[in-house]
């Protein structure tokens, strides 16, 4: 097991180096932040001076070496736009994103798992088709459209909930639904296929032969085993939410790391963009590693392989 973890850690470090290099060079292909900061009628002299102040005047390879050297010391640079350490900016916004992610996953599991079970039990029937349709809708509805629709109905028309921004519990409802809807489909489809497989297995038949109540067979013996693949998916979903909350956070004016990423891209804030992507990558790699370790414990075939 230790070898397995060490191997995964090494993979993670290599992946991080690759991500950091790609972000550094690709980011710089998109233009110079000075052009977005300065008015259109600024002189070449003023532009050159600002580029120097921002530390973007040296050759690209020199900038890269400086970036690598500083990164090895834990310094991912200073945000060009906010003049604040990029790591500090990331960690000041991270709690805001983490505040909605668990609720979105909880919502998705609360709806998606029972829906998947019911669909599997009524395979081919109208309930299964309905659940399938819900799953397709969940994946197909763009989150920006869903978010705006929810604001229009529940904030503007009914006046029940705020339109956006962080605040009390009522501020969480619409962003959580918007984020969670996409995940409902994923949970439902995975649980359905997993349940179909499990319900055909010998031990389920044995449970029925033993005369256990059908509800016990389904929810205790069936679902418990069907949930093992969901564990893997859970890790993927958390990763998706950390990286993919950009749209939801933008619509609901939620000051999380999704919005921070968006702002870093829009303003060509290279140091911030590098820091955000690297730190997000570390987060996702850590979550995936944790899930893999858990999975290896749950299913010994994984660690043996």
């Amino acid at each position: 097991m230790k070898r397995y973890i060490a191997h995964r850690l090494l993979q993670g470090v290599l992946l991080l180096c690759l991500v950091a290099s790609i972000v550094f060079f690709v980011g710089r292909l998109t233009g110079n932040p000075a052009d977005l900061m300065l008015p259109e009628d600024v002189s070449a002299e003023d532009r050159a001076a600002l580029i120097q102040v921002l530390g973007l005047d040296g050759p690209l390879h020199e900038q890269f070496f400086i970036f690598v050297r500083n990164a090895l010391h834990g310094d991912l640079g200073m945000s060009i736009r906010m003049r604040q350490p990029a790591v500090e900016a990331f960690f000041s916004r991270l709690p805001n994103t983490l505040a909605i992610i668990p609720w979105a996953i909880l919502l998705a599991m609360a709806v998606g798992i029972p829906l998947g079970v019911v669909a599997a039990l009524h395979r081919g029937g109208w309930i299964d088709r309905m659940a399938g349709a819900i799953a397709v809708l969940g994946v197909a509805i763009p989150s920006f459209w869903l978010g705006i629709l929810l604001i229009f109905v529940f904030s503007v028309q009914l006046g029940w909930l705020p339109s956006g921004r962080m605040g009390g519990p009522s501020h969480y409802v619409l962003p959580v639904i918007t984020l969670g809807t996409f995940l409902i489909a994923g949970f439902m489809r995975l649980v359905r296929s997993s349940m179909l497989e499990v319900m055909d297995s010998e031990y389920i038949k044995l449970a029925r032969i033993k005369g256990l109540r059908e509800s016990v067979v389904i929810w205790k013996h069936g679902l418990r085993n069907a949930l093992i693949p969901v564990l893997t998916l859970w890790g993927v979903f958390v990763g998706n939410l950390i990286t993919g909350a950009i749209v939801t956070e933008t619509i609901f004016a939620w000051p999380g790391i999704g919005r921070l990423t968006y702002e870093a891209v829009i303003f060509r804030d290279f140091p911030l963009l590098q820091a955000v992507i690297i730190l997000k990558s570390i987060l996702i790699l850590s979550i995936n590693l944790l899930v893999d370790i858990l999975y290896a414990y749950v299913d010994p075939r994984i660690r043996l392989a």
């Binding site: 998109t30 233009g31 110079n32 052009d35 977005l36 900061m37 300065l38 008015p39 259109e40 009628d41 600024v42 002189s43 070449a44 002299e45 003023d46 532009r47 050159a48 001076a49 600002l50 102040v53 921002l54 736009r81 906010m82 003049r83 604040q84 900016a89 000041s92 916004r93 805001n96 705006i148 604001i151 229009f152 904030s155 503007v156 006046g159 705020p162 339109s163 956006g164 921004r165 962080m166 933008t250 619509i251 609901f252 004016a253 000051p255 999380g256 919005r259 921070l260 968006y262 702002e263 060509r268």
Partner: protein, 531 residues
Amino acid sequence: MLPSWPSAQAQGQAGALVFAVESLAAQTLDPILEQRPGNAVYQAAMYDSLVGFNLAKGGTGPGVAERWELAADGLSWTFFLRPSQTFHNGDKLTAQDVKFSLQRQMAPNSTAATAATMRRTIKSIDVIDDLTLRVNTNSPQISLPASLSRAVAPEGAVMPHAYIERVGEEEFRRKPIGSGPWRFLRNVPGDRIEFEAAATPHWRGTPNFKNLHILLVPEESTRVAMVRTGEAAIASIGPETMLGATRAGLQVLSVPGTMQAVFQFWGAFRPDQKDNPIAKPRVRQALSLAIDRQELIKHVMNGKASLPYPFATFGYTESFTAERWEKWSREAFRYDPALARKILAEEGYPNGFELKFANTALPGTQFMVDIGTVVADMWTKIGIRVTLKHYEWGSFQPLERGDQAALAGWASMYRTAGRPDAPWRYNSSYSPDSTQRLLGDKDNCQTACQAFVDVYRALLDERDPTKRTTLNDRMVEIIADSWTVIPIIEGMGYYAINTKKVGQFAAIPGRHELGDVFERIPHPEQAPWKK
């Protein structure tokens, strides 16, 4: 010593004025770390500027300085400050603070847009007495007061010298103080900035609200929803949302003269472009005649735009005969496709020609892409075969630099922001050593280019107002006749307003942002603000 003016409560200030905006830019309260839009949106609330606005007409007017004078030799400006101005901690605002602020804007660590220009042009700054300051320049700088006016740039923001020296820069950034009508309360990155009405009467106007909350809400439909539900009183919107906002019962405020959407021709003067149809001024004029500006204003801008003046000029442009040029524009910018076709035929293109057109929009003016698309479509109606290429602004800007190889011979969309001093903008587009150099470069500066250079140089040193207006008009004429940058529409700034939350107010002409207006916004039951 704290001033003895009445408290905010005693003056009847109540409630919070909530404003939702699409961007808070750098979201820092240190003026040397912010650029023009951010300064105009939120820093303006708490900082005063050395030179201010003409509230009724737009353009420059009194600010921290009541008046200013140019020395006989043209090499220094003397600014006379208003008496009895204080910072929010009670410190007196003096000429020493203005000197310190200008030096801070010019400092090597400043990200101010014109820091390098200031370093080059300002020789020294003398404090004559508490209320008098002299700025000495290396050469005559006729436009210096305009450059230090918030109507043009943020570099005139006045910061508290003694406070910053006492607490240090880092602490100042955490707990900034200014001298404006709003006092800083808190800054929540990525979310909002909160201010409280300063507890003193202010020459800019004493706020009617107790608090000012500026919210960062990037999505426009969310901003409008917030105004509809009353979560915000005012939100910035684009022209595409105006109709929806009006139908939803919101009031739409339009701020005149905030920008010009233009199209311009790159490298048309270059020898390697001599066979390109756009090298001919009459062909460029024909392309202008093919644009139905009234249709654009009606359908793309929802009626909230106007026929433009010549390039980079507005009704409030200084040293400029606006009436003459308004008349000229009505004639020159008319829609006449028949004449456009006739000109093309006379110039040897009876069947039109192929035109490469880069469509782009500067930050905050996304509607320019729609304008560019419509313009391209209008050109096809006179036989122009347009190759339209869309660029995100960040990827378009690098094309302007260097030898402009990717742009030479192309037309593109562009913008000019509303500012009262035309020569600065003209220089950035037409000077042979400028980045854009649209009339000619150092090696190819022909008749029109040379005429521009001569007039611009004369303008730099001309102090007589009448002669200055004559020169300014001549400069505008040279460029207008060159048809190298052609205005399409004069745009406005737009806001959706919930009239149950705020009363009637007007913005400052040419000033898109409301940072200098918040203090004059009344409650719904109060009398409308008058200029």
